[in-house]
């Protein structure tokens, strides 16, 4: 009997030990960065954004504050190397270790015209195999986000409606206003960038706050730093990537800081100029401005954007009206990351002195906000590669029926949950296969235990 009990005890110990080992090792071995598939998983899957809003009847201000360990104030640059000017930065799968990708904040706005935006936010704009998604077709043209209503088949990128239909949709307000702030390509001269999302993500009519600084015919920059202003013609790439260039240095090209490029200057390897020349905006695209250029301080960006409530551009902009209610969705780019490596929010309701998640405070006409109101805390998360087509397909998403019933995403999912799901979706097939095998292996272990115990247990009379 004693020996029998020892066998039993050993068996239960082995079984329990395997369970503990499984607990410790579960979830490993599959999720990893894979540049070949455009996969990079951020170390932090969630972050916070603080937002305030105020309006005076003519203008509306939004103030954003979010944590960033190190500010990234450069985007793409031109670096002199052995007689050639080579473009670097601006794009990267995941964070750019050289910090040559700018920080950004973006805000989508709707006035209730876009179906489902108030319930699902930016998810509705994530269509078929967008640029940087795993398996996205290689094409010159960027496959940007778009509204489902602009396609005959929302899950088919190329099925764009005829122009006349798009114009009808636009006139009906079926577009999302898109405000952007860029730490390198708009902030230094105190500008934002006014765009929209409809059949594609693009800029409003007019000119944006930057243009290229590269002459493709000569293969050289068009502008360099004005030595009389900056004290140099170019920065050094080591100083740029090492974070040694700051707000008190002349680090951007604009009418005030640049002169025409001098090809005969004594250029040295590593000399660096920004690949973008900043300029004043025009037209509807220039509607979003800043009271002053923002600075990163004590681990946070603190950015304020301002726009006329009624820009007169109803086909490009959502018009804010006193007493109105709107829906917003935010995105934050930090750690020198761009494209889909950002943090997004679920939709947030905005009321202009109306009950909402975020209330814009009315101030006296002609005054500036004193920002005495509390921040609205917005949870931000890494969204992964979750498309609207997947979410609305009952074969791929158990919650598709809830979406059909228009149940808001926030009812069923938290931001943390969505971030985790986003990562899991990037490895959907691998994880599914591994899970199936886990099911089979664990079942075999339980059956093994069952056989074991049935063989080893004994009745007292057996022992006699």
């Amino acid at each position: 009997m004693m020996k029998q009990t020892k066998y039993l005890a050993a068996s239960v110990t082995i079984f329990s030990g395997l369970l503990v080992l499984a607990w410790v090792t579960h979830g490993t071995g599959v999720v990893r960065n894979d540049p070949d598939r455009n996969i990079f998983i951020p170390e932090e899957l969630t972050t916070e954004l603080q937002v305030r809003a105020a309006y005076d009847g003519d203008r509306i201000w939004f103030r954003y504050r979010w944590p960033a360990e190190r500010p990234s104030i450069f985007n793409d640059v031109l670096v002199y190397q052995d007689g050639e000017w080579i473009a670097r930065g601006g794009e990267e799968i995941g964070p750019d270790p050289d910090f040559l990708v700018e920080d950004r904040v973006a805000m989508m706005i709707d006035d209730g015209s876009v179906p489902l935006f108030s319930r699902y936010g930016g998810y509705i704009t994530i269509g078929d195999r967008l640029s940087t998604f795993t398996g996205a077709p290689e094409s010159e043209e960027e496959r940007t986000k778009y509204l489902p209503s602009t396609r005959t088949d929302p899950n088919e990128f190329d099925s764009v409606l005829p122009e006349s239909d798009l114009e009808t949709l636009r006139a009906a307000g079926q577009f999302l206003d898109l405000w952007q702030w860029r730490s390198s390509r708009s902030n230094p001269i105190g500008l934002g960038d006014d765009g929209l999302v409809a059949e594609e993500r693009g800029g409003d009519e007019g000119t944006g706050p930057y243009r290229t600084n590269f002459d493709s015919e000569t293969g050289q920059p068009l502008f360099m730093f004005n030595p009389d202003v900056a004290g140099y013609r170019a920065l050094s790439i080591d100083a740029v990537t090492g974070g040694d260039v700051g707000f008190n240095d002349t680090y951007y090209l604009s009418d005030e800081t640049a002169v025409a490029f001098d090809p005969n200057a004594d250029w040295q390897n590593g000399d660096t100029v920004p690949r973008r020349m900043l300029r004043q905006t025009s037209g509807s695209r220039g509607d979003v401005a800043m009271p002053q250029a923002a600075r990163w301080n004590d681990g946070f960006w603190d950015v304020t954007l301002v726009r006329d409530m009624d820009t007169g551009n109803e086909l490009d902009d959502k018009i804010f009206r006193d007493g109105g209610n709107y829906d917003l969705a935010f995105a934050v780019f930090r750690n020198a990351s761009t494209m889909r490596w950002h943090y997004v929010s679920l939709p947030v309701s905005l009321g202009l002195e109306q009950p909402a998640q975020m209330v814009a405070e009315r101030i006296e006409p002609g005054t500036e906000p004193d920002w005495s109101q509390p921040w609205t805390e917005v949870s931000m998360f890494y969204p992964g590669q979750v498309t609207w087509g997947r979410l609305t397909d009952p074969r791929l998403h158990p919650g598709a029926d809830r979406i059909a019933e228009r149940v808001p995403v926030a009812v069923r999912h938290s931001e943390e949950q969505l971030a985790l799901y986003g990562v899991q979706m990037e490895f959907a097939e691998e994880i599914r296969t591994q899970w199936i095998w886990t099911l089979i292996a664990s079942l075999s272990l339980i059956i093994g235990l069952g056989i074991n115990i049935n063989l080893l247990m004994r009745r007292r009379e057996d022992a006699k």
Binding site: A428, R432, I447, G450
Partner: protein
Amino acid sequence: MTALTAASNPPKPATKEDDMKRSEMMRRGRRIAATAAALTLVATGAALAQSDGGAAGAAEAASAFSLSPVYHILVAHFPVALWMTAYLFILIRTFSDSEIAVRLQRAVWPVAVLGTLAGAVTYGLGLTIYPWSAITESPLGRNHILLATWTLSYWTVMTVLGYRFRRHLFDGAQRWITFALATIGALVITITGTLGGSLTGSPSLVTKSLSWIGWNVYTTFYLPTWMLVTFFAGAVVLIVIGFAGRGHRA
């Protein structure tokens, strides 16, 4: 095996009764092994048939028919209550030899049988709610299926044990084995139930507790390949130990 048995037990003259007893035990062992192997094959085949074997194509499999989750949720309370009642009786009997404890122990296997039957119905109803392709795309859905499979298979084993050994589950030190096994069973029931609650949008304190001790239930519970191999090896080792111990006893 014969040598080991001979070495560890003093030789004694074999009787016809001993031979019959041994023969009966061997038959019983073979039946158990054959049933278990069949169960494994069926489960493996079902899982593979439902999966796409890791292929990249979109999963097309769907439930043959779909029932409202309300039936699964309603019926799920029965196996949970019955199994947990069986656990309670085991708990009481483990720590008490009183008359009431002995009476309760007699109810263990019938209660466990009812729980297992109700569990099988609940499991089947659960599989009809969502298309297989959809529920196995959801980390929470996968986890619920995994834990439900563990719970049902584990309590099936417990039920068989309860039926075969009845009061002997509590003979001597065996009661502590019974207690340990039943406690593991109660834990898997609790986790399965809480995952079901999370699936319906009502995460509990257990959900959060699991996160504190290392498993966020919104991520799929899967094992790395080397652990899968270890699990399969563990199953084989357990069976070998069982037969070795059995031989030792004989």
